[in-house]
């Protein structure tokens, strides 16, 4: 591990993707270092979710490669990518609706990593649920949880697979200021535990606050990468967010 500490966790090389002639990602290259929180910001429709879909194997890139700990995982199927140690909380929560919250998390415990069959997965699952703030809702069918709780469940379930790298899509969407603060604490605590995190947000606040480094994505292209401070000062980032170009909504105006 000591040798790896300095190395790259995730590397994206020249990723491009089009949907029906529409270029959604154009030559995206990025490096996420081991143990950092990497923020990916960009307005709605910038291509953040598509990039996550490519990393987790749900969508095939037209060009480019995804490397995880130096290994090319570009065309691996999603379960194999999960077993390798990448987990993700979806932007639109996708719980197993008829299962309870606890059972949802247990699926992650049981199938996430083959080698390490945890002796007491149930205790572990309960702990994870408590950690994301779902204590007392273990037995509620996931389909009946409200949106915020479903998002929390996404995170607990992803953590249950014991990932090295956690992808969080739109971590702050729809959260109250208090919940945003909790999420920020959780994300930082996870990083301090040794996880690497890649987070997106179309609101800037949370991402800029917790991230060690940030990349700004606009219309499928990386505009700049750097510390949060550097990135917000970048003139193109400002224009992307202030809507000086036509057909660009203000981030705060989006749902």
């Amino acid at each position: 591990m000591a040798a790896k500490a300095a190395s790259n966790c995730l590397e994206l090389r020249h990723i491009s993707k089009s949907f029906q002639e529409r270029r959604v990602l154009a030559d995206v290259s990025l490096v996420v270092r081991e143990g950092e929180i990497f923020g990916l910001i960009g307005p709605n429709g910038a291509g953040k979710t598509t990039l996550f879909n490519i990393i987790t194997g749900l969508v095939r890139a037209d060009e480019g490669q995804v490397l995880f700990h130096g290994q090319d995982i570009t065309h691996w199927p999603p379960p194999r990518i999960c077993h390798a140690g990448i987990a993700r909380a979806l932007q639109l929560p996708a719980p197993f609706p008829e299962m309870t919250g606890l059972e949802n998390v247990l699926i992650g415990c049981w199938f996430g990593k083959r080698q390490a069959a945890a002796p007491d997965s149930e205790a572990q699952a309960r702990e994870l649920l408590a950690r994301v703030g779902l204590q007392g809702k273990e037995e509620v069918p996931a389909g009946q949880l409200n949106l915020i709780d479903k998002r929390r469940l996404e995170v607990a379930r992803a953590l249950a697979t014991r990932p090295h790298l956690l992808l969080l899509d739109e971590i702050a969407a729809g959260l109250s200021p208090a919940a945003v603060k909790q999420t920020a604490e959780l994300v930082t605590a996870l990083r301090d535990q040794g996880l690497t995190l890649l987070v997106t947000d179309h609101y800037l606040n949370l991402t800029l606050q917790v991230s060690d480094r940030v990349a700004a994505l606009d219309q499928g292209e990386i505009i700049t990468v750097g510390s949060p401070r550097e990135v917000v000062r970048h003139p193109e980032v400002a224009s992307a967010y202030l809507g000086t170009r036509e057909a660009k909504t203000l981030p705060e105006a989006a749902p």
Binding site: P77, P78, H83, A87, P95, F96, W110, F111, T161
Partner: protein, 323 residues
């Protein structure tokens, strides 16, 4: 604790009743036949449901049934092997077609999968219909060897001729299928099927190997269905393509499973044990021509009024009775 014991006691009691009533009522050939076939369709329903548990609704299980029937019948006819060998081997024909489905229909879901499975019954049917020199074509195979008799010490089980012995054989077959079904619901593997049924994308991202587990379910499902077809050929003594590749064979297990309750261990079995005798003993004598419409009516009513099937009702009744 009580609930656990009760959930075990009830099926055991039911199994005992099913096993012991022929001792009390020794000469009841009609009932041996009807309840024997109810057990048979119970196995077919379980077999269909195992694949359905992975989130795939098949409209073409007659393909496996027909291939199992022809596999065993032709093997027995040409090689003169005992049905005790040709039944398990013949069913492999069904399973092989199942694997082919699994590979070809890998990316089909929902309605598209349903249509593909429905259409895929025609391929083996047309081949068998037209390859007369080998399969006897649309005339079918007649004079298929009956099931062999079995001697256990002083006990003689004439599976070929005694309806009572056949009833016990089919009851045993159903009990085994029930155990397989239970495994498909409560084991780790069963949870994998459930996860992919409830949300396939989420399951895949949480490490559930969707393709592999669904293929395993289909393999098990198609082999069991092939076994049913093979047994059917030897129980009946004659088969023809229009009979074993019929839409009825594809639709019946679906109706029985949905009526009984697809997500409870005893659901599909309950569906078969209720509906088939109801049809054969009450409706067929009254309406000899239109009785099959029962199944159509039942499926419409079930889907409209209790989409979870009747098994959850019974469970609720049991809870009320207990409290």
């Amino acid at each position: 604790m009580f609930r656990f014991r009760l959930s075990l006691v009830l099926p055991l009691a039911a199994a005992l009743v099913l096993a012991l009533w022929p001792l009390v009522w020794a000469e009841a050939d009609l009932y041996f036949q009807v309840f024997g076939m109810a057990c048979f369709y119970g196995v077919l329903a379980v077999a269909w449901n195992i694949y359905a548990l992975s989130g795939a609704i098949s409209l073409g299980h007659a393909a496996f049934f027909g291939l199992g029937a022809y596999g065993s019948a032709l093997m027995s006819c040409y090689l003169q092997w005992s049905p005790a060998v040709t039944v398990p081997l013949g069913a492999v024909a069904g399973a092989a077609y199942g694997v082919l489905w699994g590979l070809l229909f890998k990316n089909l879901r929902g309605v598209y999968l349903g249509l593909a499975t429905l259409a895929s019954v025609e391929i083996p049917k047309v081949i068998i219909d037209n390859w007369s020199s080998f399969t006897f074509g649309s005339l079918g195979v007649v004079g298929i060897a009956p099931l062999p008799d079995l001697r256990l010490g002083g006990l003689e089980l004439a599976f070929g001729t005694s309806l009572k012995a056949q009833y016990y054989l089919l009851l045993l077959f159903l009990a085994l299928a029930g155990l397989v079904h239970r495994y498909s619901l409560v084991s780790r593997w069963g949870w994998a099927l459930r996860a992919m049924r409830e949300n396939e994308t989420a399951a895949a991202m949480l490490g559930v190997e969707v393709f592999r587990h669904r293929l395993q379910a289909l393999l098990l499902s198609s082999y069991l269905t092939g076994l049913c077809g093979a047994l059917y050929a030897h129980l009946l003594g004659l088969i023809e393509p229009a009979l074993v590749f019929s839409l009825h064979i594809s639709a019946l297990p679906l109706v029985l499973s949905i009526f009984g309750g697809r997500f409870l261990t005893w659901g599909p079995i309950l569906g078969a044990l209720i509906l088939y005798p109801l049809d054969q003993l009450l409706l067929q004598p009254q309406f000899p021509t239109g009785h099959a419409a029962l199944y159509g009516l039942v499926i419409v009513l079930t889907i409209l009024f209790c989409p979870q099937g009747v098994a959850p009702w019974l469970r609720k009744l049991r809870q009320i009775a207990w409290n």
